[in-house]
């Protein structure tokens, strides 16, 4: 071992963490800073009839109250611009903030938010994506609950001839899988601070996983040129995908601009569970054909991703998934239909691998079943089917520099697999 | 919200304060009250009476036929007490496995009782221990069996102006073999609220005949619950595996499990039978502890 190579190096920021010197966004306190709380309604699906903010505005210590009317471009989205910063017509999930209040402290902001009057007509919600796909289901969005891929209902992937593949298989197995919604539960709740100057320039301090992406989306919502919005991305107290899109930033920017004062919005843990993005709950059917010797021949998948109330990274996640549906295994005949479906639940977003993680559990479950049915060692079944240089993924990419076999062999050796 | 704060140094002083202000809220470790304040679930709070300075409510003392545990004794103190571990193992187990180190350092046995959660860990242990609570008001002291203490979820027989002073743990008489077992299941090994918990105490003579037994379960009703029918079915009989299997079968009629975010009533109904069986096997000396699930 050399002086550097092979040595353990502490992360450059770790001593600051252990001594408490790391400054997260919530550790920023600026003179005259205002704090945000929001008004919401107690149902997951409703048509907004009227919003009356006069009661909130009268509370001493309240600096500003904003609604959808205060947002220059209210609808935003990574791929589909379907999500309002503050809703104008519909509330689509429980706890969705409708009105934002900035006040001298959190208690005052909360008191004022409770005085906002929101008249609404409750609508029938739909929570199950399979139900949401049926004709006549309550509409989460006007025009249907199935997100579009270039005009089509499904993200479709075809490789080879799947019917011929099943016909050539010795065995065909099919299972329905369902995975649960997950909350990232990073320890640092969402928080951002914004300040605006007299030139109309805005600085936003936040814990973002995607600084430039934030800047791009925030400028869109604010209708502000990109050189007038500065994003300072501080330490991120855990993200895991959950801090990939803006959340609190639009509102603090708007309120800072309106009040001329620094504004902070920190979500409580309760808000994290209710309104932050989550990993999608997925439902899918996986049919796999294979030979007696364990060789995989064909696979057909119908995949439904519950994207919640808005698209967020939904269609993008589905596209990411398509290249990974077979994991590290070679299957020459593939038929995949993936649907992204709206429901009246909190928005789903990236979490450590989009829907890829969900599909891996199904993929590996079937590999275990195949090992049992063929009587082969579970590792041998996998080894036999590993992709290698020159193989084609269902999405047509030609693989090169594949190292999965060497990796698996190293694991076999390190774990003493064959002496277990 | 404007709140008055008091930190009396004695029980008398605290009772005096409550006499004129029975709507004041008592504060001990704060591990149940303060989260509710932070979540804005407490809409009216006029006065806080912090009991933490009252030394006489912090003691563990041994008497002829009972052990006194002050209401302000923390779970950490109970977990560290050799006396409680030896003489009241279920009460010790409940505190030892409750919450997390920081919660055990603050949370008190009295707080766990007064909070009256249907699955309160100490509540279930104290029920099976046949413990009594001492309730003090300005004009009287009441000694109430824990069995009669709980009214409903979050409600007890404690009157306005009354303070839960402490707990008496009765000790078994000479010549009686008392076995006990505490079983609990939670979502995590450490730190989680019990999905359900079972405490059992079985007193047997030299022949293994059951002289008395007490079975308490959590989350099976609005309050922690004693299963009297099962206790009666065991009383006077020689306890063996078959008898236990038989009485556990009958539990369905006597429980109405709660349904919440931790688990469904369906699951609780299934799992409680397993835990009762394990508890009875261990408490009657037929099997060793299987430990925390």
């Amino acid at each position: 071992m050399g002086k550097v190579i092979g040595q353990r190096l502490p992360l450059y920021d770790s001593y600051r963490h252990t001594t408490g010197q790391t400054r997260f966004t919530d550790d920023i306190y600026l003179p005259g800073m205002l704090f945000v709380k929001t008004a919401k309604i107690p149902v997951p699906h409703a048509r907004i009839l009227n919003i009356d903010t006069t009661g909130a505005e009268r509370v001493a210590g309240v600096a500003a109250v904003i609604t959808h009317k205060d947002v220059p471009n209210n609808y935003w989205g990574a791929f589909v611009q379907d999500q309002p910063v503050l809703p104008d017509k519909y509330v689509r999930f429980l706890g969705q903030p409708v009105v934002a209040v900035a006040a001298v402290d959190e208690d005052t902001a909360l008191e004022a938010a409770e005085k906002v009057k929101i008249d609404y007509e409750e609508l029938t919600p739909v929570f199950d994506p399979e139900e949401a796909m049926q004709p006549g289901a309550p509409e989460v969005h006007e025009g249907g609950n199935i997100a579009k891929f270039g005009g089509y209902d499904a993200m479709m992937v075809r490789l080879g001839d799947v019917e011929k593949g099943f016909a050539e298989s010795d065995y065909v197995i099919e299972h329905k899988f369902h995975t649960a919604m997950n909350e990232h539960a990073f320890l640092e709740p969402h928080c951002s601070v914004a300040e605006a100057d007299a030139n109309g320039h805005i600085t936003i301090y936040t814990a973002s996983q995607t600084t430039s992406w934030h800047q791009f989306l925030i400028c869109g919502v604010l209708a502000a040129p990109i050189n007038t919005v500065r994003i300072v991305s501080g330490p991120t107290g855990g993200g895991f995908g959950g801090k990939s899109n803006p959340s609190t930033e639009f509102v603090v920017a708007l309120l800072a601009k309106k009040t001329g004062k620094p504004v902070k919005w920190r979500w409580t843990r309760e808000e994290e569970f209710l309104i932050s993005t989550v990993r999608s709950a997925d439902t899918f059917w996986m049919k796999t054909g294979f030979k007696k010797d364990g060789t995989l021949v064909a696979r057909q998948i119908r995949y439904i991703q519950d994207t919640g109330a808005y698209n967020d990274f939904g269609t993008y996640g589905m596209m990411k998934l398509t290249s990974q549906i077979n994991g590290p295994y070679r299957i020459p005949n593939v038929w995949f239909d993936g649907y992204v479906v709206y429901t009246n639940k909190q928005v789903t977003g990236p979490m450590r691998g989009y829907s890829i993680t969900q599909s891996v559990s199904a993929n590996e479950t079937q590999m275990e079943i195949i090992a049992e049915m063929t009587g082969l060692d579970p590792i041998e079944v996998r080894r036999k089917n590993l992709v290698q240089d020159g193989d084609i993924l269902p999405t047509q990419q030609v693989l090169e520099a594949v190292g999965v076999r060497e990796t698996l062999d190293a694991v076999i050796k390190a774990s003493n697999w064959y002496s277990k | 919200m404007s709140v008055q704060y008091f930190a009396p140094a004695s029980v008398e002083e605290a009772l005096q304060l409550l006499a004129g202000n029975s709507d004041y809220t008592l504060l001990a470790g704060g591990t149940d009250l303060v989260p509710r304040m932070n979540l804005r679930q407490i809409k009216v709070l006029r006065g806080l009476v912090y009991l933490g300075n009252i030394a006489e409510m912090k003691g563990i003392t041994s008497h002829n036929d009972y052990i006194f545990v002050g209401a302000l004794v923390t779970h950490s103190r109970i977990a560290a007490s050799e006396l409680i571990k030896e003489k009241a193992p279920n009460v010790w187990y409940a505190s030892y496995h409750m919450g997390t180190p920081a919660i055990r350092n603050a949370g008190t046995i009295g707080g766990n009782l007064v909070n009256a959660s249907p699955a309160g860990d100490s509540c279930v242990a104290l029920l099976a221990a046949d413990a009594r609570v001492i309730l003090k008001s300005r004009h009287e002291n009441r000694l109430v069996p824990v069995k009669e203490f709980f009214v409903d979820k979050g409600r007890t027989v404690l009157n306005p102006g009354e303070i839960l002073y402490g707990v008496q743990l009765p000790m078994a008489g000479q010549g009686i073999r008392k076995g006990s077992s505490y079983q609990r299941i939670g979502l995590l090994k450490g730190s989680s609220t019990a999905i359900t918990n079972v405490a059992a105490e079985v007193e047997q003579d030299g022949e293994g005949v059951c002289q008395a037994c007490r079975i308490a379960v959590g989350a099976m009703a609005g309050t922690p619950l004693r299963l009297a029918a099962l206790e009666e079915a065991l009383a006077g009989k020689k306890i063996d595996r078959d008898l236990i299997n038989q009485v556990v079968k009958d539990v369905d009629a006597w429980i109405n499990p709660i349904d919440d975010t931790y688990a469904t009533a369906w699951y609780r109904r299934k799992v409680v039978k397993v835990l009762i069986k394990r508890a009875l096997l261990e408490a009657s000396g037929l099997e060793g502890s299987e430990g925390e699930v």
């Binding site: 353990r8 502490p10 992360l11 920021d13 770790s14 001593y15 600051r16 963490h17 252990t18 001594t19 408490g20 010197q21 790391t22 400054r23 997260f24 919530d26 550790d27 306190y29 990232h184 539960a185 990073f186 320890l187 640092e188 709740p189 330490p235 991120t236 107290g237 855990g238 993200g239 895991f240 920190r266 409580t268 843990r269 | 919200m1 709140v3 008055q4 704060y5 930190a7 504060l27 704060g30 591990t31 303060v34 989260p35 304040m37 932070n38 979540l39 709070l45 806080l48 912090y50 933490g52 950490s76 919450g99 997390t100 180190p101 920081a102 919660i103 350092n105 603050a106 450490g190 730190s191």
Partner: protein, 150 residues
Amino acid sequence: MEIAFTLNGLAVKVDVKPADILTDVLRQKLGVLSVKKGCETGDCGACAVLVDGELVNSCVTLAPTVAGKSITTVEGLIVNGEMDIIQRRLAEYHGTQCGFCTPGMVMAIKALLNGNPHPDEAEIRRAIAGNLCRCTGYQKIVEAVQSITA
């Protein structure tokens, strides 16, 4: 109301409201920003401090109840410019990633080692059970503590 207590060895006096939680008083009035707000219900441990040597969650501790007591946070573990060994080893053994749980974690380990200088692995895990960490998987934290006590 004014309360007095000792904070990291210094006597402090501070004006608080009865329902103020200790976390807010430490952060907003005394500038102790290492104490984090992760849940406000006593579940995550990011706000953990020592009160008279015992680990407590400052988010479920009302400020007036610490009058007359002694409070220690990670800032107070640095003596004459030297970090505590826990602070060094957690960094060196990669027991910290995003850093948000770290100050509370350091205090939980401090409380453990104060009472038990040679804990086994089960005792270490039990001592940090109330300090949630979503990054490390805890293994590196346990190894960091073991490097101190072995």
